[in-house]
Amino acid sequence: MEFFTKATNFPFMSTRKLWYGLSVVLILVAIGSFFVRGLNLAVDFTGGVQVQAGFSNAVNIDALRSGLERAGFREEQVQYLGSSREAAIRLPTQANQSSEAIRARVEGVLHAIDPRAEVTSLDVVGSQVGAELKSGAVVALAATLFLIFGYIALIFHTWRLSLGAILAVLHDPILVLGAFSLWHTSFDLPVVSAMLAVIGYSLNDTVVVFDRIRERFEGSRRLEPVAVLDQSINQTLSRTIMTKVVTLIVVVALYLLGGQALKGFSEALIIGILAGTYSSIYISSAIALDCGLKAEHLLPTAIKKPVDDLP
């Protein structure tokens, strides 16, 4: 089987203003949502109490909520977890209360609704731990981007490609953040690691395209950059799409079958992989082109040699 029997010839570079526009719109929506709606940060970051409970029958969320209110809990968030027989309860930090006391109170509420209900997991996170994690995540993100910028500049001898790669790749976690903020999906620690994995992984495509650009320029340095970039993207297109399809297959399997604990993680991966594929095809090379990318940037050492060594 082969989907790409003929070499494709899409004019990616001449249409780049359109793709820039699309990216800008998506990013503005993501950032807008981030500032207007915020993120639904999990207890990992905010501190507080997270309870998972299993019931013998379908449970009524409203009954659970009012039960918690009667037991004196405030600002509780209750939602189904995977099925109607499981629920997640989120509570703000309970000052001066031991986890056993919290557990006993919550169990009291659960047993009033369903005597066979049980607490399957209970997390109590201090607020200072959460604050540190937030800064840790930002540091990790910045360090990753910085190292990747340096790495690409090093292997391709030009900051133009680095900048293209970084701008394209920044785009992916921003869109993931935007999606999590729009849908108000719980944003926990595994989501952050998924975002970092996405950065590393979506750059993969970008680097493969860059590698092809270098190869084309090595073949002939007189080619027009626009043509080289278009050809390179087209020639690697089948690989880019095939790889992403295969990765999406496993990540979707993880999303559908991996259980509640990995939902947010796999969701972030799906969004990130889609965004990453888009950005490495449409954005990264285009930015390098607009930064004035030419053959000699990629092949700096060859410049001193005679251009033509025919007699």
Binding site: S99, I152, L196, A197, Y201, V207, V246, G258, A261
Partner: protein
């Protein structure tokens, strides 16, 4: 012609074989098991093993095999019911000497275990348990140190008849926490004499002379190294104490590890009742150094069940001992206790602070030849349920951990000798546990029920299998025989990754399983790059064998450069992340590395076997 160097074939074969062997233990599953250990922490031996076996057999608790592992006895059972019955037997009839914990044992054959092959341990999210993150008040430990210097200085200056106005703690400009002491002297005081007096016995401290509005001052500032050493001591001390107490809990495979500069992370698989655990972990211990009361008879006191005035009756190894009530030194004056092998065999080196040292000197000067005891005192909060009502009370237990003859006048550094090496280690450990303590408190606590753990692992493995099958089908359809090569290589990659994780004893957690799944997706990438390149070459009219060679060669730089970016992200996560996130990063990083090996060498070996040599290849089955 297409060929592949013989040594590379050999390398691929060797790595595959090793990977299979190391990954093997993971595929046998586990039996319910009971871990039995001696209460006094001496390793279990064949004698103890037989005692447990006899007891289990006598009380008709069925088990199917046991083995000694790292000083502990692991007894295996066919069912959870047998396991619980055996635990009850041990708790009822062997509780005096032994402590038991529910656990699981790998079903892998003995032979594998004997050569050190084990399955990956499972994280708490996969087996259920209690996770605690303790914050150690390391700054409090520094404050305590300053406090003890403060007292020491006051005593020194008073006994030397050197007047001073005040001694106060302050924060020097280089520090964010209080780290210095200022001795304020009356105007016209002999500053040099004061400094010399303070310096005596405190040669490791630096004193600088200054002045403020009221008169001359002498400042003592702890260096950054000293502050850090103090904080680290407090942390290490708490880690030792927690380890010690976790052992008391009888939990199988507990983890107590430092996290960052002031946190301790405790993982207790299988534990659900956090109240009991925190009571035991949260005990406060202290030490007292006291003289033996040799004027009165301990046996007589025991008979009358009353100690003479000024003394207190203790039991040590079943014999009564009378100790003077008067204290020589206490745990908060102990700055260090380490066990070493000295000239006279194993010994414990004890260091006291200035105050403790002075008192030790005063007391031992007149008492050489008498015995001195170290009493270990533990305060804990015990919660009991009586008639459905919870009541808690503070419990204090006191125990003599050392009773030794004073051979010479002692000061702030001395040795306790005449111990076996186990005793020396144990004594040093207990003394450190009871020394100056930095308070700890739990800042994070997570309990995962065993059913949730089992569900997590079942779903994770299911997602992995289904995901892999879908990829297999897709690759086989799209790339035909080459697709099957990729699939075989993919399986090899998962096996190799499992082998590496088992070899490094990495704990497998849910994010770790997610990492394996993501790696499957990523590992395909290298093969796709190569195959697409081969197809491209074929389209350009190159012969099949040349296309294969060009495909591998030209795809190499792209594979290398593109995987490095994913590796960078993986390594950053590895370094910055913690707990489960680190587990994901480890798997991702190792997975990328193994996938480069399997797809470049492994798949090339297979493809060369299929299409290589001098044979004539007219067509490739590449879809």
């Amino acid at each position: 012609m297409l060929d592949f160097p013989r040594w590379k074939y050999a390398l691929v074969a060797l790595v595959t074989l090793l990977a299979l062997i190391f990954a093997l233990p993971n595929f046998f599953g586990t039996d319910p098991a009971l871990q039995v250990a001696r209460k006094n922490r001496a390793p279990m031996d064949d004698f103890a093993r037989q005692a447990v076996e006899r007891s289990l057999t006598a009380h008709t608790a069925a088990f199917h095999g046991d083995y000694l592992d790292d000083g502990k006895l692991i007894v295996r059972f066919a069912s959870v019911a047998d396991q619980l019955k055996a635990r009850d037997v041990v708790n009822e009839f062997l509780a005096v000497d032994y402590i038991s914990a529910l656990t699981t044992a790998s079903r892998a054959p003995e032979a594998l275990r004997h050569i050190g092959l084990r399955p990956m341990p499972l994280g708490l999210d996969l087996r259920g348990g209690l996770y605690l993150l303790y914050q150690v008040d390391v700054n409090g430990a520094v404050a305590q140190l300053l406090e003890s210097y403060d007292q020491g200085f006051r005593r020194t200056l008073s006994s030397a008849n050197l007047p001073f106005n005040d001694i106060a703690t302050y924060t020097s400009s280089k520090s964010t926490i209080p780290n210095a002491l200022r001795v304020s002297l009356p105007a016209g005081a002999d500053v040099t004499a004061v400094r010399e007096a303070l310096r005596r016995g405190n040669s490791d401290l630096t004193f600088s002379i200054g002045s403020d509005a009221t008169g001359p001052t002498i400042d003592m500032e702890l260096s950054q190294t000293q502050v850090r050493a103090r904080q680290d001591y407090a942390l290490q001390k708490n880690i030792t104490t927690l380890r010690n107490r976790v052992n008391e809990l009888g939990v199988s495979e507990p983890i107590v590890a430092q996290q960052g500069i002031d946190r301790i992370n405790v993982q207790l698989p299988g534990v659900q009742n956090s109240a009991e655990v925190k009571d035991i972990l949260g005990k406060v211990a202290t030490l007292e150094f006291r003289l033996e009361d040799s004027q009165n008879s301990a046996a007589e006191a025991q008979q009358r069940n009353r100690a003479p005035l000024g003394s207190k009756l203790y039991q040590m190894e079943g014999r009564p001992v009378l100790l003077k009530r008067e204290l020589i030194a206490t745990g908060d004056q102990l700055t260090n206790a380490t066990s070493t092998n000295g000239n006279e065999g194993p010994e414990v080196n004890v260091t006291l602070n200035g105050q403790g040292g002075d008192s030790m000197l005063r007391n031992t000067r007149l008492n050489v030849g008498r015995r001195m005891a170290v009493v270990y005192i533990e305060k804990s909060r015990e919660t009991r349920v009586i008639d459905g009502q919870k009541s808690s009370r503070d419990v204090t237990t006191e125990k003599i951990i050392s009773l030794a003859t004073i051979k010479a006048v002692l000061s702030n550094q001395f040795r306790i000798t005449g111990l076996s090496s186990v005793e020396a280690r144990e004594l040093a450990l207990l003394m450190r546990s009871g020394s100056l303590s930095a308070p700890i408190f739990a800042v994070e606590e997570r309990t995962i029920g065993p059913s949730l753990g089992a569900e997590n692992i079942r779903k994770g493995v299911q997602a992995l299998l289904i995901g892999m099958l879908a990829v297999f089908a897709f690759m086989a359809l799209y790339y035909r025989r080459f697709g099957w090569v990729a699939n075989l290589v993919l399986v090899a990659n998962v096996v190799l990754l499992t082998a590496l994780l088992s070899f490094f004893r990495a704990t497998l957690s849910l994010p770790g399983i997610a990492g394996i799944i993501l790696t499957v997706g990523i590992a395909v990438d290298a093969n796709v790059l190569i195959y697409e390149r081969i197809r491209e070459e074929l389209r350009n009219g190159v012969t099949p064998q040349a296309a294969i060679r060009a495909g591998f060669d030209k795809a190499w730089s792209a594979i290398r450069d593109s995987n490095v970016t994913a590796l960078i992200a993986g390594v950053v996560l590895w370094v910055v992340g913690r707990g489960a996130i680190r587990g994901f990063a480890v798997v991702l990083t190792l997975g990328i590395a193994t996938s480069m090996f399997t797809s470049l060498l492994g798949s090339r070996a297979l493809i060369t076997i299929m299409y290589g040599g001098r044979r004539k290849v007219t067509r490739l089955s590449i879809g």
